[in-house]
C-alpha cells in the first residue's frame, strides 16, 4: 500500500477507517496496542502496513485480546508515551474493566471506536450498543457523522486527552461511516505534528524519579477524592474540547460545535440524533422545510461530557422533540440519549412533549421514511392535550410496516 504524503490540506476520497488511520499516522503515537475486530479491522490493518513500510516509529502490539490491548495501552501511557488503540463492539465490552482503570489512573489515551452492535444475537453492523455500555466509564466520547469528522475528532482527541488527563474515545458508525467512501480534507503531516506538539507526560514510569502507579486506595476518602477529581476534569471537558476544536478549525476551516443545529432558529419540531443518521434527518428536514414546515435537527457531537446547556438552548423554543436512540438499554425508561436530552430540557426549564425512538439496531436500514414518520408523529403531539407529557416508552422504527409511505 502506498499512502499520500501530504504537503498541504489535501482533498481525498476515502473510507472513515482510512481517515482515522491517517490521523493515527500523522500523530504517530509511541505505541498502538490493538486487537482486530470487525468493523475496526481495516484501521489496524492499514496501520500494520505503515509499520511494515517503516513509515511510523510507533511500536505496534497486536495483542491476543482487547482486554490486553487496553491493558497494554494503559501500560504504555503510564510509561510516558503517547498510546493509541482502536476497537468495536465485543472488543469494547471486553475492555470494560480496563476502561475504568484508564480513566481512574488519569491516563491520556486515544481510542477509535467503530460503533457496532453487541451480541447476542451476533451482528457485525453499526449501532451504538457498544458505546452506550461505555458512556459512564469516565471517557470523553466524541461521535463522528462522517469520515471527515472521524479524522478531525481523532486529531482533536490527543490535545484534549493530554489537557484533561482523561482518555478519549473517537467514535464513528460501523460500516456506514467506517467503510463508506466520502470526500474529505486532510491536513499536512507537519501541520498535525505541530498541532499535537511534543508530548511531555505529567508522570511516568520511565522518566524522572521512580513512581508507584496504581496504589491501593482502600482506606479513608482517597478513592472518593480520586472519583471527584475525575468528575472535575470531565466538567472542564466541554470548555477544553471547544477550545481545541476551535484551534483546529482555525487551521482547517472546519468548525467544531458540541451540538450542531440545522434549522433550529425557528423550528417547532426537532429531531435529536447522533452519528451517521444525522444526515438522513437533515435531508428529510430540508425537504419538509421546502413545503413550509418548521422542522430542525440537533446533532450531538460531544456525548461525554454531555453538553447539557447547549442541548437545552438548542431546544429552547420548540414545541415537540423526538430523540433517536441507536441503542436499547432495557431500563424500561427511554433510551440513553433521550434520558440525557430530557435532563437537558428539564435543566433549561423547557417543558415540551418528548418522544423517543429506537432505530437502526444491528445496522437495520435507517430510511428517510422513518424520519418522515418521526416528524409526522410530532405534529400529533405538539399543541394537543397529550402534548405536555414525556413518553418514556420508545417506539421502534424499521421493524414493522412503516405507517408513513414515502
Amino acid at each position: 500500500m502506498t499512502h499520500i504524503k501530504y504537503t498541504e490540506q489535501t482533498t481525498i476520497a476515502a473510507t472513515g477507517n482510512t481517515f482515522v488511520t491517517e490521523a493515527f499516522r500523522q500523530v504517530e503515537p509511541d505505541a498502538l496496542c490493538a486487537y482486530p475486530i470487525t468493523p475496526q479491522t481495516t484501521i489496524v490493518e492499514k496501520f500494520a502496513q505503515l509499520v511494515a513500510d517503516g513509515d511510523v516509529a510507533t511500536e505496534y502490539v497486536c495483542t491476543e485480546s482487547e482486554h490486553s490491548a487496553m491493558t497494554a495501552t494503559i501500560g504504555a501511557a503510564a510509561a510516558g508515551g503517547r498510546a493509541y488503540t482502536a476497537t468495536s463492539a465485543q472488543g469494547l465490552a471486553h475492555m470494560w474493566e480496563e476502561l475504568y482503570i484508564a480513566s481512574g489512573l488519569r491516563l491520556p489515551i486515544v481510542m477509535a471506536n467503530v460503533n457496532r452492535a453487541l451480541s447476542a444475537p451476533i451482528n457485525i453492523h453499526g449501532d451504538h450498543s457498544d458505546i452506550m455500555g461505555a458512556r459512564d466509564t469516565g471517557w470523553v466520547m466524541i461521535l463522528a457523522e462522517s469520515p471527515q469528522e472521524a479524522y478531525d475528532n481523532t486529531i482533536i482527541s490527543t490535545p484534549v486527552s493530554e489537557d484533561l488527563l482523561l482518555p478519549v474515545m473517537s467514535c464513528l458508525d460501523g460500516f456506514i461511516t467506517s467503510h463508506s467512501i466520502m470526500r474529505g480534507d486532510v491536513a499536512a503531516d507537519a501541520t498535525v505534528k505541530e498541532f499535537v506538539g511534543e508530548y511531555s507526560p505529567r508522570d511516568s514510569l520511565m522518566f524522572g524519579e521512580p513512581r508507584t502507579v496504581g496504589p491501593f486506595a482502600n482506606l479513608g476518602p482517597t478513592y472518593m477524592k480520586v472519583k471527584k477529581a475525575q468528575r472535575d476534569a470531565m466538567d472542564r471537558g466541554l470548555e477544553v474540547i471547544k477550545r481545541v476544536g476551535d484551534q483546529w478549525a482555525e487551521i482547517t476551516g472546519r468548525s467544531y460545535d458540541h451540538v450542531e443545529c440545522w434549522g433550529m432558529e425557528d423550528a417547532e419540531r426537532a429531531i435529536v440524533v447522533m452519528g451517521s443518521a444525522a444526515g438522513n434527518a437533515r435531508a428529510v428536514a430540508r425537504s419538509l422545510r421546502e413545503g413550509g414546515e418548521k422542522v430542525g435537527v440537533v446533532k450531538i457531537r460531544t456525548y461525554r461530557p454531555f453538553p447539557l446547556a447547549d442541548v437545552g438552548a438548542a431546544l429552547a423554543h420548540v414545541k415537540a422533540v423526538a430523540v433517536l436512540d441507536r441503542a436499547e438499554t432495557f431500563s424500561t425508561l427511554a433510551g440513553p440519549l433521550a434520558k440525557d436530552t430530557i435532563a437537558a430540557l428539564f435543566n433549561a426549564g423547557v417543558t415540551v412533549p418528548v418522544r423517543n425512538y429506537i432505530y437502526g439496531l444491528g445496522g437495520n436500514d435507517v430510511k428517510l421514511e422513518q424520519m418522515y414518520q418521526v416528524f409526522d408523529d410530532l405534529t400529533k403531539v405538539d399543541g394537543d392535550g397529550i402534548a405536555t407529557s414525556v413518553n418514556m416508552t420508545p417506539r421502534y422504527l424499521g421493524i414493522g410496516p412503516c405507517s408513513y409511505e414515502l
Binding site: 509511541d30 502490539v61 490486553s68 501500560g75 504504555a76 482503570i101 513512581r211 496504589p215
Partner: protein
C-alpha cells in the same frame, strides 16, 4: 554465572521493609531474590498483578517500591508490562529515549493471577516475545482473598473452595504444570525455582534478566497462613518441596531442558510425606482411612519427576 553472596548482599533493596506482608511470607523473599538477580545498577520497571504482594506494599499514600512500580488489575500484568516495554521500544526508535539507556521490565503475579485468570495475557506476551521477565510466585491458592483453590493448588490440599469434609478430601485434581506450558511457548528462558534454594533462584533470575526476549520464572513461595505452617518454616518448607521432588528445580534454556536439583537428591528423593506433614493443609491425608491418598500423592510425584527426567535427557 552466579554472583557471590558478598556482592548480592550489596544489591540495594527494591522492595523495602515497612510493607504489610505477613511474617514469613514467601512472596517477599521471592521478590528480594529476583531483584538480586537484576543486579545493583539495573533500571527496573516492575508491574504486580492484584495479589497480597500488591495490596500489602502500596497502601496509599505509602509505597515500599524503590523502583518504578505499576498495578493495573488481576489478570493482566503481563499485558501491562508488555505495553510499557512496547512504548519503550517505540520511543527509542523515535529517538525519545537515550539509546544507551537500558530498562529491565519485570511482571510479577501470584498463581491465581498467572495460572488461572492471567494465563491468556501471559501466553500472549510470551508469544509476542516482549523483552521482559515474568515471575509467578506460586503459593498454590488465592491467599489474598482467603485461601481459595487455584489451578496451582496441589491435589489433596485443603482450600476454602476445595474443603475437606465427610465425603471429599480436599482438591481432587492435579495442579496445572505451568512451567511446562510456558516451555511449550519456546521462549528463550523458562525456569522453576523455590525460595528454599536462594542460590539457584538468584542465578535463574540473573539468567532471566540477561535474556533477550521473554523469560519466565515459576517460584514456589510458601505461605504460612494458607499452608498452615510456622512463620519461621517458610524456607524449610520451600527446601523440602524440592528435596521430595514435589517441586523439582529445572530450567529450559533455548529449548534445552536441564534439571538443577541439589546434588544430594542424586541419592534419591525424600518421601513426599515429609513435605506434606509439615503443613496443616494436608493434615487430613494422614488420618486413618486416607492411606491411599498418600500413596497417590507419592505416585504423582514419582510420575512427574520421571517425566521431567525424560525431558531433561536423564531418563
Amino acid at each position: 554465572m552466579a554472583t557471590p553472596i558478598k556482592e548480592l548482599a550489596l544489591v540495594p533493596e527494591r522492595l523495602i521493609g515497612g510493607h504489610r506482608l505477613c511474617g514469613g511470607c514467601g512472596a517477599s523473599i521471592a521478590v528480594r531474590q529476583v531483584m538480586m538477580g537484576a543486579g545493583p545498577d539495573a533500571d527496573v520497571v516492575c508491574g504486580v498483578a492484584t495479589s497480597c504482594l500488591q495490596v500489602s506494599t502500596t497502601i496509599y499514600p505509602f509505597s515500599s517500591w524503590k523502583c518504578s512500580y505499576m498495578h493495573n488489575a488481576f489478570e493482566n500484568v503481563a499485558a501491562n508490562i508488555a505495553g510499557v516495554e512496547a512504548v519503550y521500544k517505540g520511543m527509542k526508535r523515535a529517538g525519545k529515549i537515550d539509546p544507551d539507556r537500558e530498562i529491565k521490565f519485570l511482571a510479577i503475579g501470584g498463581d491465581g493471577g498467572t495460572y488461572d485468570i492471567g494465563l491468556q495475557a501471559l501466553s500472549g506476551a510470551a508469544e509476542r516475545g516482549h523483552d521482559m521477565v515474568y515471575v509467578c510466585y506460586d503459593n498454590g491458592a488465592y491467599m489474598n482473598t482467603g485461601i481459595q483453590r487455584s489451578s496451582a493448588t496441589p491435589k489433596g490440599s485443603w482450600a476454602t473452595t476445595s474443603e475437606v469434609g465427610a465425603i471429599r478430601p480436599g482438591k481432587s485434581t492435579a495442579r496445572k504444570d505451568l512451567t511446562s506450558i510456558m516451555a511449550a511457548h519456546h521462549i528463550p528462558y523458562v525456569a522453576q525455582a523455590s525460595v528454599g534454594y536462594w542460590k539457584d533462584l538468584v542465578s535463574k533470575a540473573e539468567k532471566a534478566f540477561a535474556t533477550e526476549g521473554f523469560a519466565f520464572l515459576n517460584i514456589l513461595a510458601p505461605c504460612p497462613r494458607g499452608w498452615r505452617h510456622g512463620l519461621d518454616q517458610t524456607t524449610i518448607v520451600g527446601r523440602s518441596a524440592v528435596d521430595t521432588g514435589f517441586w523439582p528445580l529445572f530450567e529450559v534454556e533455548n529449548g534445552d531442558w536441564k534439571m538443577t536439583m541439589p546434588a544430594k537428591t542424586r541419592q534419591g528423593l525424600k518421601p513426599v510425606t515429609e513435605f506434606l506433614e509439615m503443613q496443616g493443609r494436608f493434615k487430613h491425608l494422614f488420618k486413618p482411612g486416607n492411606e491411599h491418598l498418600l500413596v497417590e500423592a507419592q505416585e504423582d510425584v514419582d510420575a512427574y519427576y520421571a517425566y521431567l527426567k525424560e525431558r531433561c535427557g536423564e531418563a
